[in-house]
Point group: C2
Chain length 235, copies 2
DNA sequence: GACAAAAGCTGATCTTTATCAGTTTTTTAA
DNA sequence: TTAAAAAACTGATAAAGATCAGCTTTTGTC
């Protein structure tokens, strides 16, 4: 079951993947000329809010949460990034410290690209530059959406949206069309939707009773995306 | 009383003003060569979410709210922009429709700049291009902050932050250092902080009892910024 | 300046969601 | 394989905040 027509998934995803596609072979080679690949285990922190950036990261495989932790140690997930997405470029471009933290939510393989190579390719490739502007502008759409939903919708609707968004991210891997399996903790889900962890569990039970999801330990299978979209009450 | 040292106001403001500063006289002249100035009265809509952009807007004077209205007609204010700030560029750069709406919250004078002039200057001025990338990247900081605060903090803390942010925006006009007067409706305040309008009124009463603010009709005077910052519980 | 409309305000009640204090199940790693 | 740790889950309670209905004051316009 595809989302097309029933849910505007584009408004929930960043588009940094498309940036790499516009690079010539030569420019791509330059970009990755000094890359260093690194394995991150589930839970490992990739960078931490407030530290000084020295480059950007390209996710080769795995999944990464971008999040902020406030002074009461409450965590809010801002975005979940997957394969071929870039992270860490905001800090480099704004010439500020990292505005958020990043951590692997599953075992991940990630390339580090030094700042200089990124900036150099950015200067040499007008197409890359244009795509970057486009990607950054699109991010406003995604984040404004999140703000509006988190501020105005019920816990149940927010959870439904989080599940829809995650389903799309977990689809590619075990790419059956129906029944996508999410491998994400209840806590991360809670921190994504801005709900207490206990209530995520209770809401999942409701969704399960309605035949929308099934659970097996920590794993969540999305069984009925159409009804999940209806639950999200988001058009 | 300045905020410096006690509140990170930079994390709550966009930086499009600085973009104009890097333009040579020639490039600036080109940018505004076909501008048309227009007066908007308080409440007037400047552009509406979902419509196709044909240019960007430069706020000459006044204040503009950027907001989203959901399917239950609940409004969420994403950002409040003031003099010398640009709006509407996201849609142009992402080649999408407007991701949010914009309306004047006080009488405003606004220049419309056609898309072509904006794009043309963008191509001709590398400095402008760099500043734009910087401004867009910085927006991530601002919006991620908003998400985290709206999802995780109490109504009282959110209102305190909204008042601090607005104080900065209303300061320039009647630029006494102490006692800034905000001219904003309870409803807009509620839609900014993601609180019911009735509760904004009750919380303002509390703040008043503590000597932090005073009210006179719709007008809100910020009397004690230090205690307001303490109330926000945000470091 | 009078009048209508809009905005501000109040108290009572209801709903949603968080918090707390556990128990049970699953996962991890020795 | 198994023990320890972590995560998932449950029920009870508390708290925060929304909603509702009505009243009062302010604002804007003729």
């Amino acid at each position: 079951m595809s989302l097309s027509g029933i849910f505007p998934i584009d408004r929930w995803n960043f588009t940094t993947q498309s940036m790499l596609n516009v690079l010539s072979e030569e420019h791509y080679a330059e970009l990755v000329s000094h890359q260093s690949e690194q394995k991150f285990r589930k839970g490992d922190v990739i960078f931490r809010e407030g530290s000084v950036p020295s480059g950007i990261f390209l996710i080769r495989s795995g999944k990464v949460k971008k999040y902020k932790v406030d002074n009461l140690f409450k965590e809010q997930i801002i975005y979940v990034a997957g394969p071929n997405e870039l992270i860490g470029y905001h800090a480099v471009l704004s010439e500020e410290r990292y505005p958020d933290s990043a951590a692997a939510i599953e075992d991940s393989l990630i390339s580090f690209i030094p700042q200089d190579d990124f900036i150099s390719v950015l200067h040499r490739s007008p197409a890359f530059n244009r795509r970057l502007l486009k990607a950054l502008s699109h991010e406003f759409t995604v984040l404004a959406n999140s703000i509006s939903v988190i501020a105005q919708r019920t816990a149940s609707e927010r959870l439904a949206i989080a599940l829809i968004v995650l389903r799309e991210k977990y689809k590619e891997a075990g790419s059956e069309e129906n029944e996508v399996i999410l491998n994400i903790s209840r806590m991360d889900l809670a921190n994504m939707a801005g709900i207490a962890q206990e209530n995520v569990i209770r809401l999942l039970k409701e969704f399960k009773a309605e035949g929308i999801v099934e659970t097996d330990g920590r794993k969540i299978s999305i069984m009925d995306i159409q009804r999940l979209v209806k639950k999200s009450n988001y058009h």
